[in-house]
C-alpha cells in the first residue's frame, strides 16, 4: 500500500470549530492541508462528545468543494413556477440580487411589515437563527416557522418540555439511569438530539448495564440495541402509557409521594367545572391541608400535609385533588384495552410498569458533590414517536407523567431538561439560565437567557404563562390563537385559505417569503399542497448551498456558505439540543471557518446585515437592536445600531459579552472553546425551585375553551375534546380507516446517516447508505412481504386511502411490526442539480395530508402515520 508522502504538505493546520450538519452542533476539529479541508475529528475537550463525531459530520467534508454547490446568486427568467419546471436560472451579481431584495423588503416594511414570511430550517447546526429573527423583529412580523419540517418535529414535545423541564426538550441522565423507556425516541442512536453526547452517554450506560425498553414499530437504530424491543402500532403509545399509569397508581399503588405533593399540582383542588378552585383574592389555586382540614393556597407555608385523595368542601364547592382525578381517569385504561389498540401484549405492559417503578428506587438518595439528591434511575423519553401524530399533545403529556409519578424529573438518574439551569461561566456569570416558579399557579418559568425582543415570547421558550387564544389574528400561521405552537401548519395546509377566511388576519398573503436552507417542498405534506402554497408566493428568495427542490419556486437564490466556510458565535449558546446534560461539564465551542467561502458564496448572516443596511437606517437600527435584546448584550458588548457590522464583528461582541472582554473572536479562534465545571445545583435543580409540574393540565382545558370560543362561531370545528386536562387516548386518522384493503401503517424515521434532506448530497454518506437494508428502501416485515408475494428489491407503490402514493424498492426485514411500512427520511430528491442525491431513496411526505383535521388540535403537530396498501409497480419505461 502506498506510504504517505509527507513532502506534499506545505501547510498543515487544525481548527477548533463546530459541526453544522444537524442541530446538535457537536464540537469538532478540522484539519486543512495546503488550505484544503481534509479531516473532521471530534473535539477531545468537549465534555459532551468526548472527542468523537458521527458519520454525518465526517462524511460532510466534501461540502466545500462539491461541484454541485451554488456559487453565484441566480434569478429566474422563467416566470412559471412548479415542480420539475426549469426556472431557467440566470447568474446575477450580488449587487443586483441584494438591491432587488432590499427594495422588496423596504416596500413591505413601509406598507405593513407583517406581510412577510420566514422559513428557517429546524436543524442545521449553524443555528444562525438570530439574524433571521432580527429580520422579522425589524419588520414587526410574526410569520416564522421551521419551514414545514417543524410541524413534523416537536410542537408538542417543546411545549411540554418547556412546562415540565423549563427547557426546549428533554432527555435522560444516562450517566446514572438504569432503566430507560423509549417511546419512539432514538436519542443516542440516530437522533440529532444531543447527537454525539447522547451516543456516548447511552453507550456508556449500556456498558454499565442500563436497560433500554424500546416502544417502536421498528427494530432498527434504538430497537436494535434494546434490552426489550416492543413493536407497537403508531399513535397508540398513549393508551399503553395510560395503562401503565393505571397499573402504577391503582394496582401497585406506588408513587413518589414527596414529589407528587410538593413538585406537582397533584394536590390542587379541582372543581366540578374541571378548573382549579382558586382563592378569589390572589387567584392562586387551593389545596387541602389534610391535618388542619382546610383549604389553603398551594404556597401557604403553614401547610402541614397535602391531601391528594378524597373530596372536600371549599366554600360550598366540591373540590377533588387532581391526583384523585388522575387515578380515576387512568382506571379506564386497562392493559387489555391498551393491548387491543396497540398490539402490545398485556404481560409486557404489566412487566414494564412493574420494572419501571422498581428500578425508580423511590425513596433512595444519592450524594453528588457533597449534596444529597433523590436518586431515581429510571426515565421515559420520547420525541417523534409520540409527537408526530394527531394525538401528539395528549401522548407527550402522558409520557412526562410517567416520570412525574416516580419523581424522576431533573434529579439524578431521571428525565432531564437539555439543560435547564446555568449559573454562567465562572469569570462572567453568563450565560445565565434562571429557572423559577410562577407565583400564581406555581408553574415552571423557564430561564433561558434569550432576552426580550420585539419578536415576542417564542424566542425565549417561555411556555408559562400561556398566552391564551385571542383575536384579532395577526399572523398567517394563526398563532394568536395557537400562541404556544412553534410551527404552524396553516402557512401551507390544504385548508389554509378557508382557515384564513374564517380566522385569519386582515391580510391574506405574505408579499414575500425568505427561506434559509429549508426544503419544505420535501419536508412538508403532499406535493399538491406544497406546490400550491409555494407557487403563489409573489416574491420568494432563499439562501441555500444547492439548487434544491424548493428553489424551483424561488425568484432569487443566494449562495450560502457552508458551516466549514462561516462563523457563528452562538451555535452552542442556544443549548436546545446540545447542552451538556447532567453533571457533564459546561463546554462552549464556537464555529469558525476553516477556509474561505468558495466562489461568490457569502454567509447568510452577513448578507442579512447587508440587506438590512440597504433597507434603511431605521430598519437597520431595529435589526441590530434585536441582537442586543436577543443575547442580552451589555456594557461594551452592546452593538451600535448605526454601525455597519459584519457577522464576525457581531460574533466578537457576543463572545465578549458572555466570556469576557479578552475572550472575543480572536481568542476563540486560537483556543476553540471554554469549559468549566458543572455544579450539581445546575444539573439537579428540581428541589431548589418551588415550581410544580402539571399532572392535571388545567390550563390546557382553558386553552381549548378559549380556542373553541373563537373558532366555533366562525365555523371552524376541531377536536376540542383533545384539550383535555387529563391526557387521554384519541385515535389518529389512520386508526379510523376501516377499508380492509388499507391494512398497513406508515412510519417515517430518521436514519443515523442522514439529517433532513441535505446529507444525500454528500458522496461518502451516499455510498455507505447503500450498504444497509434501510436507508434507501421501503421496509416491510418479512412475513408480511411473503404473504403479499412481495420480493426483496421489487419496486412497489404505497398508496393511502386518499389515493396518494409513493414508489420505491422494497427491503424485507424481520425487525418491523407486521402492520408497518417504514421509510427513512428525507430521501428521493428530484432536482436535476443534486447529482448525487437525485433518485436516491424513497420520497415519503407526498402521502401526507396537512389540514386542520390531520393535525393535533392542541399542538398543531402533523401526523406522519397514514393507512396504506402496497402493490407491485409495473415496469415503467
Amino acid at each position: 500500500m502506498a506510504e504517505m508522502n509527507p513532502k506534499v504538505i506545505k501547510e498543515d493546520k487544525w481548527y477548533d470549530t463546530c459541526c453544522g450538519i444537524c442541530y446538535a452542533s457537536c464540537p469538532i476539529r478540522v484539519r486543512t492541508i495546503n488550505g484544503i479541508p481534509v479531516k473532521i475529528e471530534g473535539q477531545p475537550r468537549a465534555s459532551t462528545s468526548k472527542g468523537a463525531v458521527c458519520g454525518k459530520s465526517v462524511g460532510s467534508l466534501s461540502v466545500v468543494h462539491d461541484p454541485n454547490r451554488l456559487n453565484t446568486p441566480v434569478k429566474r427568467t422563467n416566470p412559471v413556477k412548479g415542480i420539475g419546471i426549469d426556472p431557467k436560472w440566470q447568474a446575477i451579481s450580488w449587487e443586483e440580487a441584494l438591491t432587488t431584495i432590499a427594495d422588496k423588503i423596504r416596500t413591505i416594511y413601509k406598507e405593513d411589515g407583517r406581510q412577510f414570511k420566514i422559513n428557517v430550517m429546524p436543524s442545521q447546526g449553524s443555528y444562525n437563527h438570530p439574524p433571521i429573527w432580527a429580520l422579522v423583529a425589524a419588520l414587526g412580523c410574526t410569520n416564522e416557522s421551521a419551514g414545514a419540517g417543524g410541524m413534523l418535529c416537536g410542537n408538542a414535545a417543546h411545549f411540554v418540555a418547556g412546562l415540565t423541564h423549563g427547557s426546549w426538550s428533554h432527555t435522560a441522565d444516562t450517566d446514572r439511569c438504569n432503566y430507560l423507556i423509549h417511546f419512539g425516541a432514538s436519542k443516542g442512536h440516530a437522533a440529532g438530539h444531543g447527537s454525539n453526547q447522547m451516543m456516548r452517554s447511552m453507550a456508556d450506560a449500556r456498558a454499565r448495564g442500563m436497560k433500554q425498553i424500546v416502544f417502536d414499530p421498528m427494530c432498527n437504530f434504538v430497537g436494535g440495541k434494546a434490552t426489550r424491543w416492543v413493536p407497537i402500532i403508531p399513535g397508540t403509545d398513549v393508551a399503553v402509557i395510560l395503562a401503565m399509569l393505571n397499573i402504577i397508581l391503582n394496582e401497585l399503588q406506588t408513587w413518589d409521594d414527596v414529589f407528587i405533593k410538593t413538585k406537582t399540582n397533584a394536590p390542587y383542588l379541582i372543581g366540578p367545572d374541571r378548573h382549579y378552585i382558586r382563592d378569589a383574592k390572589t387567584q392562586k389555586p387551593f389545596v387541602w391541608d389534610a391535618v388542619e382540614k382546610k383549604a389553603k393556597t398551594w404556597d401557604d407555608p403553614s401547610i402541614k400535609e397535602f391531601a391528594i385523595m378524597g373530596t372536600y368542601d371549599v366554600n360550598g364547592v366540591k373540590g377533588t385533588p387532581a391526583f384523585q382525578l388522575l387515578r380515576e381517569h387512568v382506571k379506564t385504561y386497562t392493559p387489555e384495552y391498551a393491548s387491543k389498540l396497540s398490539s402490545v401484549p398485556v404481560d409486557v405492559i404489566r412487566t414494564v410498569s412493574k420494572e419501571f417503578v422498581t428500578e425508580a428506587r423511590i425513596g433512595s438518595t444519592i450524594n453528588i458533590d457533597g449534596k444529597t439528591y433523590p436518586f431515581r434511575p429510571a426515565a421515559a423519553i420520547t420525541f417523534s414517536g409520540l409527537n408526530n401524530h394527531r394525538n401528539a399533545w395528549n401522548s407527550v403529556a402522558a409520557m412526562h407523567m410517567l416520570n412525574m409519578v416516580i419523581g424522576a424529573m431533573d434529579v439524578p438518574g431521571g428525565c432531564m431538561g437539555f439543560p435547564t439551569r446555568c449559573f454562567g461561566y465562572e469569570e462572567t456569570g453568563r450565560p445565565e439560565f434562571k429557572v423559577s416558579a410562577d407565583p400564581i399557579e406555581g408553574m415552571l418559568l423557564a430561564g433561558w437567557w434569550w432576552g426580550e425582543t420585539t419578536r415576542g415570547k417564542m424566542v425565549r421558550h417561555k411556555m408559562w404563562p400561556i398566552d391564551m387564544p385571542t383575536t384579532p389574528e395577526v399572523s398567517l400561521g394563526l398563532k394568536k390563537i395557537w400562541s404556544w405552537v412553534n410551527d404552524s401548519p396553516f402557512y401551507f395546509s390544504s385548508d389554509r385559505d378557508e382557515m384564513h377566511e374564517k380566522l385569519g388576519p386582515d391580510y391574506k398573503e405574505a408579499k414575500a417569503w425568505m427561506n434559509w436552507g429549508n426544503n419544505m417542498i420535501m419536508s412538508g405534506g403532499n406535493l399538491t399542497n406544497m406546490e400550491d402554497t409555494l407557487k403563489r408566493i409573489p416574491f420568494f428568495f432563499t439562501f441555500d448551498l444547492y439548487l434544491t427542490e424548493i428553489t424551483e419556486f424561488c425568484d432569487i437564490v443566494l449562495p450560502d456558505a457552508s458551516y466549514l466556510e462561516s462563523v457563528c458565535a452562538d451555535q452552542n449558546l442556544q443549548t436546545g439540543f446540545n447542552g451538556p446534560v447532567g453533571m457533564k461539564d459546561w463546554a462552549f465551542f464556537f464555529r469558525q471557518p476553516v477556509c474561505e467561502p468558495v466562489g461568490e458564496r457569502r454567509p447568510m448572516p452577513d448578507v442579512l446585515l447587508d440587506i438590512a443596511w440597504r433597507v434603511g437606517p431605521d430598519f437597520y437600527a431595529k435589526f441590530v437592536q434585536s441582537f442586543n435584546g436577543f443575547w442580552g448584550l451589555e456594557g461594551k458588548a452592546v452593538l451600535d445600531t448605526t454601525k455597519k457590522y459584519t457577522y464576525a464583528e457581531v460574533s466578537d461582541n457576543v463572545l465578549k459579552n458572555f466570556f469576557g472582554q479578552e475572550k472575543g473572536l480572536e481568542w476563540f479562534k486560537e483556543n476553540g472553546g471554554v469549559t468549566w465545571p458543572k455544579k450539581a445545583e445546575e444539573a439537579f435543580w428540581r428541589y431548589d425551585i418551588p415550581a410544580r409540574v402539571p399532572v392535571y393540565w388545567e390550563f390546557v382545558l382553558t386553552m381549548g375553551e378559549k380556542a373553541k370560543e373563537i373558532c366555533e362561531p366562525r365555523g371552524v370545528h376541531m377536536q376540542w375534546e383533545q384539550f383535555s386536562p387529563l391526557p387521554s387516548y384519541f385515535p389518529i386518522k389512520a386508526h379510523e380507516v376501516t377499508d380492509p384493503q388499507y391494512d398497513l401503517y406508515t412510519l417515517i424515521y430518521r436514519d443515523t446517516l442522514h439529517t433532513g434532506s441535505s446529507t444525500q448530497m454528500h458522496p461518502e454518506i451516499d455510498a455507505v447508505s447503500d450498504t444497509n437494508p434501510y436507508s434507501y428502501y421501503i421496509n416491510i416485515n418479512e412475513d408480511t412481504g411473503k404473504k403479499k408475494g412481495i420480493k426483496n428489491g421489487q419496486i412497489i407503490w404505497v398508496e393511502t386511502d386518499r389515493g396518494r402514493r409513493i414508489k420505491g424498492p422494497v427491503s424485507l426485514i424481520k425487525g418491523l411490526h407486521p402492520a408497518m411500512v417504514a421509510v427513512a427520511g428525507i430521501n428521493g430528491h428530484w432536482s436535476k442539480y443534486l447529482k448525487i442525491g437525485r433518485g436516491k431513496g424513497v420520497y415519503f411526505n407526498d402521502l401526507l395530508e396537512i389540514d386542520k383535521d390531520h393535525v393535533d388540535p392542541v399542538s398543531l403537530s402533523a401526523d406522519s402515520c397514514v393507512k396504506v396498501k402496497i402493490y407491485p409497480a409495473k415496469e415503467e419505461k
Partner: protein, 293 residues
C-alpha cells in the same frame, strides 16, 4: 441465493470476486490452460508426440499471458518466485517457468539432436514432472483458501489434474486424428477411463462438499440449481462429461468412429474443462461473517 443486495456483503453467502468476472476471468482461463497444457504434455510425452509437446508448450505460454493480463502490476511478476515456502502461486510460478524451460530444451533436443535420447528422455521426464505440477498446483492454490469451503476440499487438486489430463488427451486425440495415427485406439481407451474417473470425482466432490459446511452447501446449490447452473449443466456436464462419454461408449461398441464424432468429443472436453474452472471459481463462496439464514 436471492439476488444479492449491496448490504448482503458478508451477511449472506458472499461470492469471491477477485478471481472471476471481468479481469478475474483471465485467472479461470489461465487455470484451464495450465491444466490442459500439463495434461497434454503428459499424454504427448507418453505417446511420444513432438507436436503435442509443442502445443503444450504454447498453451503454457498462453497461460502465462493470461496470468499477466490478470495481474494488477505485471511488471512486478518477476518477484513471484520469492515465497515458495508458503505460497502456492509462488510455487506455481516456479513450476511453470521450469516446465516452459525444460519443455523448450526437450523440444530443441528432439528437433535438432534427436539422437541424444538419454538427454531427451531426462528432460522429457523432468518436464513431465513439472507438467503434472503445473496441472495440479492450481487445485492446491484454490483449496488452500480455508474460508471458501467449496474450494477447501482434498478432492479439488485431483479433480483439476484429472480434468486437465482429460483435456490434454482430447487435444492428443485431435493430433492423432490429424496424423492418422495408430495410437487413436489407445488414446481412446485411456480417455474412457479418464472421463469416467473425472465424472466420478466430480460427483463425489460436489456431493461431499454439501457435508462440509453450510457455505459449501450453498455454493453447491448455486452450482447445480442457482445462477451458475447453466454453466455447470451445459458446460461441465453436457460438454465436459456426457458428450465425451457418449462418444466414448459409442466408439467402444461400434469400433471405428468417424473423425467428426471424435472431434466433437474433443471440442466438448475443452469446453468442459474451461467450464469447470469457471464454475468452481464462480462458486467460491465465503462463510458469512455474521449470523444469517
Amino acid at each position: 441465493m436471492r439476488q444479492t443486495q449491496p448490504f448482503d456483503y458478508m451477511v449472506k453467502y458472499t461470492q469471491q470476486k477477485n478471481w472471476i468476472d471481468g479481469r478475474g476471468n483471465f485467472i479461470a482461463f489461465a487455470f484451464f490452460l495450465g491444466g490442459i497444457s500439463g495434461g497434454l504434455f503428459m499424454a504427448a510425452a507418453y505417446f511420444d508426440s513432438l507436436l503435442g509437446m509443442f502445443i503444450a508448450w504454447l498453451l503454457a505460454l498462453c497461460m502465462g499471458v493470461s496470468y499477466m493480463i490478470h495481474l494488477g502490476q505485471p511488471l512486478q511478476s518477476w518477484r513471484m518466485f520469492m515465497k515458495p515456502g508458503t505460497s502456492w502461486i509462488s510455487r506455481g510460478f516456479i513450476f511453470i517457468m521450469l516446465f516452459i524451460g525444460l519443455t523448450a530444451v526437450t523440444l530443441i533436443l528432439a528437433r535438432w539432436a534427436p539422437d541424444a535420447t538419454a538427454a531427451i528422455t531426462t528432460f522429457k521426464v523432468l518436464a513431465g514432472i513439472f507438467a503434472f505440477a503445473q496441472s495440479i498446483y492450481t487445485g492446491f492454490a484454490v483449496s488452500y483458501v480455508s474460508a471458501i469451503k467449496l474450494w477447501n476440499s482434498a478432492i479439488l487438486p485431483i479433480l483439476f489434474v484429472v480434468c486437465g489430463f482429460s483435456g490434454g488427451l482430447a487435444i492428443m486425440m485431435a493430433i492423432a486424428i490429424g496424423n492418422n495415427s495408430t495410437d487413436i485406439n489407445a488414446i481412446e481407451n485411456i480417455t474412457r477411463i479418464t472421463l469416467i474417473g473425472f465424472a466420478v470425482i466430480l460427483i463425489v466432490y460436489l456431493w461431499n462438499s454439501t457435508y462440509s459446511s453450510n457455505a459449501a452447501k450453498a455454493a453447491v446449490t448455486r452450482v447445480v440449481g442457482g445462477d451458475i447452473a447453466p454453466f455447470f449443466w451445459i458446460g461441465v456436464i453436457i460438454f465436459g462429461v456426457i458428450i465425451p462419454i457418449t462418444v466414448s461408449v459409442v466408439t467402444y461398441f461400434i469400433g471405428e468412429a468417424s473423425n467428426a464424432l471424435l472431434l466433437t468429443a474433443v471440442s466438448a472436453e475443452i469446453i468442459g474443462g474451461l467450464s469447470l474452472r469457471y464454475v468452481v471459481l464462480k462458486g467460491g463462496t465465503y462463510e458469512p461473517l455474521t449470523s444469517t439464514e
